[in-house]
Symmetry: C2
DNA sequence: ACTCCCTTCTAGCAGTGCTAGATAATAGAG
DNA sequence: CTCTATTATCTAGCACTGCTAGAAGGGAGT
């Protein structure tokens, strides 16, 4: 029965449209503008169909966030493997991370300030999140010395995340971001 | 005319009650539970009186946040001046910062993830914010070397803020927080 | 042709931040 | 003490939110 297959295909295709609609709307007007009614309007279905795909608005945001994690992981991987020099590699990863956050602030927001149920450091952590952290750990590893590489990666990640969020909320002057990044790298590669 | 004075006194007193009500409610049940109706009920006035004190809910949150910044600055100052040893002093400040955030998560949330209009690093930055950053700068200063002390303070602050927020959102295991903090201090005092 | 089932929709609930217009309380003038 | 002007406060409501129950629709299998 190919009918059932077509149905399922259309269904997953519609789910994709929901996610991308949410993402586009958020990037364009912020997450406050992403309402269930506007999403329904965009995909040209009524409101309740959203709830046949996702448990609620939070689940939609989580799906968008997961997409973001996959992209971030890919960017960091590309940055890390572009050069064999460990120092340049770490710098490239850090640059990739902060520029990703700056280019897609709403996506980053969905990934970190919302989406509480996406838990790290546990067994059922989604693959993209583990992949992203793995990139960071690999990049930091050459400079960990006798310290725990995972722990070092965590504090390096925290520093990047702090820079990103504080800059985003106008707590740090954006123009001195490159100098801050250079100084941070200096502290970790010394 | 002492009547006008009494009026104003009662008014500022009521404003205080609004702020503390918002803060208590947030700490107890989270910021989502802080609605204008519940606030009005707590202070035993009708909803619209809130708008004669504050421009909106965001302004109330900003007022709470400002209170939080004053408290955080005081705690950091106390921590920094408890010992003359620069290394122990910096460690104490970092410990004060993270434990403040852990003890009052909703207050910290109001201070950083909301309250967009409280801008740092500009002329009209409120005093408590400047005071808090000054404490951090003082504590970091002995270890800045030839680097810009302010910039070093900024990245140290970012690292602390990153640790706090990532831990809060279940991105980092809480139990290894002390080891992370120690490792971070090691990177900045080496 | 007729059920049956699954999909989708319309309509509505309880809640949100915020505000216009009515009302109550008070101050000053006669 | 009375009356008016002003201020403070409230009631009622708007437009919106996330979400859901029950009706209506349209193919599938007998």
């Amino acid at each position: 029965m190919p009918i059932r297959e077509r149905r399922e295909r259309e269904r997953t295709e519609r789910e994709r449209r929901i996610i991308t609609a949410a993402r586009e709307l958020a990037e364009a007007e912020g997450w406050d503008a992403v309402t269930t009614r506007r999403l329904a309007e965009r995909i040209e279905y009524s409101q309740p169909v959203l709830y046949s795909h996702f448990k609620g608005k939070d689940a939609i945001m989580a799906a968008v966030a997961l997409e973001g994690f996959a992209e971030l992981a890919a960017r960091m991987r590309a940055a890390r493997t572009v050069t064999p020099d460990p120092r340049a590699s770490l710098a490239a990863v850090a640059e990739a991370y902060t520029s990703f956050a700056a280019a897609r602030p709403m996506l980053y927001e969905a990934m970190f300030t919302n989406a509480v149920d996406l838990t790290f450091a546990s067994e059922d952590t989604p693959a993209p999140l583990q992949a992203g952290f793995a990139e960071l750990r690999e990049a930091v590893h050459p400079f960990a010395g006798t310290d725990d590489p995972a722990l070092t990666a965590e504090i390096f990640w925290a520093a990047l995340h702090g820079l990103v969020t504080l800059t985003r909320k106008h707590r740090l002057r954006p123009e001195s971001h490159p100098r801050r990044l250079a100084l941070l790298l200096h502290h970790f590669t010394a």
